[in-house]
């Protein structure tokens, strides 16, 4: 096993890797931007190396700095987490060229799967079902108009070089094509330096089902069943679960075999996820994420397998050491992403300082969080602050447990996606398992939910009143002052 690894990431995923590494006796080196000097991943790693700068483009995206940090701190391997350079084949190559191990798939597999067109070709060749659409990328809006006639509306436009839902536009009629092409291509240019788009049928009422796979360097491969991630908005997931309600054991076996086929076709090694669009028993290859995913914990809770441990093990050459039959799923797990965004205003990003923090606890509640009191939440990084994960003996128990856990959570000073998750968990259709990827966008989140409006308003007024009073009295800032307000009819006050 490695003696020391560098974790080329920040936030909860850096912490996630640090935790398992520590449990395996592997030392960790954190890297940090100026902004992250006091971040939890910096403080909880064994070692920390400053990258300088506060923007991602000055720090976590600068491969040279990261490799230099790894060499300087005598690390043997690099774990990229997700995002940043995790799916950058050139970086993966540079890491191995520097004599370091790369805790991820071979650069060639990253490159093929990272290109929408190439991956589609490879999957078709390997017999993996794909969504109807054009194989070649498109660089002008007119070509979209022509091709749309054959493929049929709605169509999806995606950055050829993109991933994770960035730069995707759904077009429902020809008149929308011009604007959609311009903005999507513009985003793709600025984000990836490549404005070409990929075009395919947009499968409506589709569910997002993905398979977790693992390949070692000796030809061994297993899958860990599926996750469903249909509760999403603009392809940004909010709630994920394992297993999926629409997948039974037979289907899991078939989809698992297809997912392994997809990996074998690109000589995959390490952990990865094969995403499918799922619609009424049919499933189409969407993309393969050649890294650990945000939602990997739901799989961990159900299978009992530590996926980061497996990543480290296969990266340093170990065999998987068990077979498909040894992977046993038990119960049901959910994950809710705690993003810094405001569901009441269309999930606009929210910024601020975390002044107040209460994380949930108790039985079968797992919190993967980068939050700490005093943390500043800015715009420069991914809005994911924390993940709340629960396990239950069945789906109904797990839903109630998640509602309970979220009711215990407080992140003061910044708005979060949690109220939206609570609204989803309250919907009878969601509870019955009847939903698709448009479910979240169909909910009205603009008005306050929770049913305690009068109480909240009263608390807010008492809070403000107390603050004003304290200021007027010049009292100590740390002063606690409580109020007892009674409701006595005989006082004849107020009407």
């Amino acid at each position: 096993m490695f003696r020391r690894i560098l974790v080329a990431n920040r936030g909860e995923i850096a912490l996630r890797v640090i935790r398992t590494a520590r449990e395996m006796g592997v030392e960790t080196v954190a890297v940090y931007s100026e902004f992250d000097r006091l971040a939890l991943h910096t403080r909880l790693a064994d070692r920390a190396v400053a990258l300088g700068g506060s923007l991602p483009s000055e720090s976590y995206l600068v491969g040279e700095k990261i490799i230099e940090a790894a060499l300087a701190s005598d690390a043997e391997a690099v774990h990229p987490g997700y995002g940043f350079l995790a799916e950058n084949a050139a970086f993966a190559r540079a890491v191995t060229d520097a004599g370091l191990s790369w805790i991820g798939p071979p650069p060639d597999a990253i490159a093929v799967m990272g290109d929408k067109i190439e991956s589609r070709r490879a999957m078709q060749a390997a017999g993996v079902p794909v969504v109807p659409g054009l194989v070649d990328p498109i660089d002008d809006a007119e070509a979209v108009v022509v091709a749309a006639e054959e493929i049929g509306f709605p169509i999806a436009l995606k950055a050829a070089a993109g991933g994770g839902g960035e730069g995707i536009r759904i077009v429902r009629e020809p008149s929308e094509i011009a604007v959609a092409f311009r903005t999507a291509s513009g985003e793709a240019s600025s984000a990836f330096g490549d404005g070409r788009l990929y075009m395919e049928r947009y499968v409506e009422r589709a569910r997002h089902v993905e398979l977790q796979v693992l390949f070692d360097h000796h030809g061994g491969a297993v899958h860990f069943g599926e996750r469903e991630c249909s509760i999403q908005r603009r392809h940004q997931k909010l709630i994920e679960e394992c297993p999926a309600v629409v997948v039974d054991e037979g289907l899991r076996e078939r989809m698992g075999a297809v997912a392994l086929q997809a990996g074998h076709a690109v000589d995959y090694q390490g952990a990865g996820t094969v995403e499918f669009l799922f619609c009424e028993g049919e499933y189409f290859f969407l993309e393969m994420n050649t890294r650990l995913q945000v939602e990997h914990p739901v799989t961990e809770m159900v299978t009992g397998v530590d996926l980061v441990r497996e990543q480290l093990r296969v990266a340093c050459g170990e065999e998987i050491g068990y077979g498909q039959a040894d992977v046993v799923m038990r119960g049901h797990a959910f994950e809710v992403r705690v993003n810094a965004e405001d569901p009441a205003s269309g999930f606009l990003p929210s910024t601020g300082t975390v002044k107040n923090l209460r994380l949930p606890g108790g039985p079968w509640v797992r919190v993967d969080s980068a939050l700490y009191r005093g943390m500043e939440v800015g715009l420069n990084y991914d809005p994911l602050l924390a993940k709340v994960v629960v396990w239950g003996e069945d789906r109904a128990v797990a839903i109630e447990r998640m509602r309970r856990a979220l009711a215990e959570l407080n992140v003061g000073g910044v708005r979060t996606s949690v109220p939206a998750a609570l609204v989803v968990l309250d919907q009878s259709a969601f509870r019955a398992g009847e939903f698709d990827t448009s479910f979240l966008e169909g909910l009205d989140l603009s008005q306050p939910h929770g049913g305690r409006v009068e109480l909240a308003v009263a608390i807010a007024a008492v809070h403000r009143h107390t603050a004003a009073r304290r200021q007027a009295l010049g009292a100590d800032r740390g002063d606690r002052s409580g109020w007892v307000a009674r409701n006595r009819m005989d006082r004849n006050w107020p009407r």
Binding site: N356, L379, P448, R452, V453, E454, R477, W483
Partner: protein, 170 residues
Amino acid sequence: MKYFVRIGDTELEVELVERLGELLVAVEGESLAIEYEPVDALGQVGILTDGMSFGASVEGDGERVAVTIAGHTYHVEIEDERERAAHAAERRATGSGGTITSVMPGVVVALLVRPGQEVAEGEPLLILEAMKMQNEIAAPGAGVVTTLHIEQGRSVGTGDKLVTLRDLEA
């Protein structure tokens, strides 16, 4: 003291009266029995009301306050009587106004209009990039651009002024 509390689309009036060290609370004229006890001076409060118990949290000292009860956060804007009067006077002075403000923090990646330009309703004025998404900010109605409060490449915060339009004289 009366407070006017806006939440979502509605506004509720809260009256607070201090009497003999107790605080009497009424929401929309309905009195509410509430015990309010801060826990840690950081925002956690213990609430008892009518036998029910809540571990709430409350943040914000100014006009914007966020109250979290059982995972749901209630974002409110509060004015007291004096502020309400002052704000009303201010609105009378400035008229309905034609300034578009930013509803989110972001970076102006493209300015699509210049001062003096006539724009139609829905015409894009600028592109604001936030959290890796580009958002077209469109004119809410037809008008003439009078002022650009921003420059391309500049960061803006929530509530910052972007563009001022003047109604087209018919």
